[in-house]
């Protein structure tokens, strides 16, 4: 599972006046090590201090997706990966939220299905890949099932948790008001569980993205960032592999930033609990 606390964007500070940046030591201190590393990298590759074909120069890495024959494929790869991510995520998250709603609203269903789901969840996701390739081949269907599976568990879990943590007195009020089953779901259960569902969606998107690249890397057929990286590794092209890794990380970061923004806006009505 991905640790979200690490990937949440640092809260942007409100810039009161034109506060000069050197008065904020945290900023330049944070930049010190990356800049130093970058300079060292540049110097080492320029002067040829270490002769290894694994050491690619920074300028070559930056130019790779635009000028290099192999590097230019990265754009198609990214496109294909994102399409797979969206398809797999849509299936997995829908199923996950549906199951979470069922488990969270029906005690009987929870008792009958909950333990089985929890048992399956203990199997490391990656361990599904050999079975899936045996069942669905090495093509897109295997990958999409795997991506859906990666999105399924976090959404199911967080939907269920969200429903379970709705304060008991809300349920009592719903009972007293004699809300119908439908009203209870639309007025109470869904809004109450929404923050947790959103967290589930965010985690699911990240796991599904890693699942996308992982399944592409492991299964190999077709295009995608994972296949791009695997190809780079086979040809001993460190620059290609590094580019893949950077894209893997950047897409994860973008997912986190977008989810954070969107969900904060969608939940603005919540405000602070009074």
């Amino acid at each position: 599972m991905v640790d979200l606390s690490a990937s949440l964007p640092p809260r942007t500070r409100a810039r009161t006046s034109a506060a000069s940046w050197w008065e904020r030591p945290a900023l330049w201190r944070g930049l010190a090590i990356p800049v130093a590393l970058l300079i060292a990298w540049f110097v080492v590759t320029r002067l040829g201090l270490i002769s290894s074909h694994l050491l690619v120069s920074p300028e070559k890495l930056v130019a790779l997706p635009f000028v290099d024959e192999a590097g230019r494929h990265v754009w198609f790869a990214l496109g294909e990966s994102v399409v797979r991510l969206v398809a797999g995520f849509a299936i997995g998250a829908t199923a996950g939220i549906a199951l979470g709603l069922l488990l969270g609203t029906s005690q009987a269903a929870n008792r009958a299905i909950g333990p089985s789901v929890n048992g399956l969840r203990q199997i490391t996701l990656f361990a599904w890949i050999p079975l899936l390739t045996a069942w669905f081949g090495n093509g897109d269907s295997s990958k999409i099932v795997y991506i859906a599976l990666s999105a399924f568990f976090p959404t199911a879990l967080n939907t269920y948790e969200g429903l379970r943590t709705i304060p008991a007195h809300y349920l009592e009020v719903a009972r007293v008001l004699q809300l119908s089953w439908r009203q209870r779901i639309v007025r109470l259960l869904l809004p109450g569980a929404l923050p947790s569902i959103f967290i589930g969606i965010q985690i699911a998107l990240i796991t599904a993205w890693i699942g996308t690249v992982g399944s592409e890397y492991a299964m190999g057929v077709g295009r995608g960032i994972g296949t791009f990286m695997a190809g780079g590794r086979e040809q001993f092209r460190m620059d290609v592999v590094l580019l893949g890794v950077i894209i893997l990380a950047v897409v994860g970061y973008v997912i986190n930033v977008i989810c954070g923004r969107v969900f904060r806006r969608l939940l603005h009505w919540q405000g602070s609990p009074s």
Binding site: M1, V2, D3, S5, A6, S7, P25, A26, R29, G30, A32, I33, P34, L54, Q107, A108, R111, A112, I113, G114, S116, N118, G119, L120, Q122, I123, T124, L125, F126, A127, I129, P130, L131, T133, A134, E161, T165, A168, H169, L171, E172, R175, I210, V213, G214, Y217, A218, M229, A230, G232, R233, F236, M238, V241, G244, V245, L248, A249, G252, Y253
Partner: protein
Amino acid sequence: MNIRTMAQRQIGAGSSNWQWSWLGALRPGHLVLPLLLPAAVLLAWQLTAAQGWLPVQILPPPSLVFSTLVDLIRDGEIAANLKISLWRISIGFAIGTSAGLLLGALMGISKTLDDYVGPIFKALAQVPSLGWVPVLILIFGLDEALKLIIIAKACFVPTTLATSQGIRNIPRHYLEVARVMMLPRLLFLRKLVIPATLPTVFGGIRLALSHAWISLIVVEMLAATEGVGYMMVWGRTLFQIDIVIAGMIVIGVIGLAMDFGLSWTERRLSRWVPRHG
């Protein structure tokens, strides 16, 4: 169900170890219901296989999976692979968590260090283990170092984050009281720092172990010639799906056992550590 039992359920459900909360709620009568679904699936599975609707290379009957599992256990195949896997995970875990505890403690104590190291640490933590695998394969080949580094890194990140956060979250006035009382260093550590940070740190370590287990499977499936993860890939190339499913069972059971063990230890520790307001 009436409101009272519902409310009680809601209140009782507040435990952090939600995974195991249903265990406590099990009564003999409730044991049947959770088993219905697996039993139905097993039955359908056995029926499908017995009728020959799907070839063995796609879906071996559960009886074959079971006998394969027994065989693999009996001839020591699983034990040998597990031994390697568990050796890898213990070394990687030991390196990763101790480094994480150290860096986390330093970052928690020194704001300056946190300013310098924090951002680059968080940026690198963005890269999942899967991303490190091909890079490290190019550098180290399929060496044992590759597996240990991946596992150590998987443990290092959550431990560092939890430790620095745990230390930073110690209430300020506790530190002030300690200073006023002029607590000796050792007593300060034993009576204040450790109890105050333990729950957070332990949460990080628990996360570290589960990350380590996941990374171990990933790296063994992608770049190994032995170990539990490799056993499954090997079964897959032989079209022996019974080995693949047996491997999945082993992986699930071990993961469950590790999490159960840690959650048990956590409860033990939290009983020992007094609650903090």
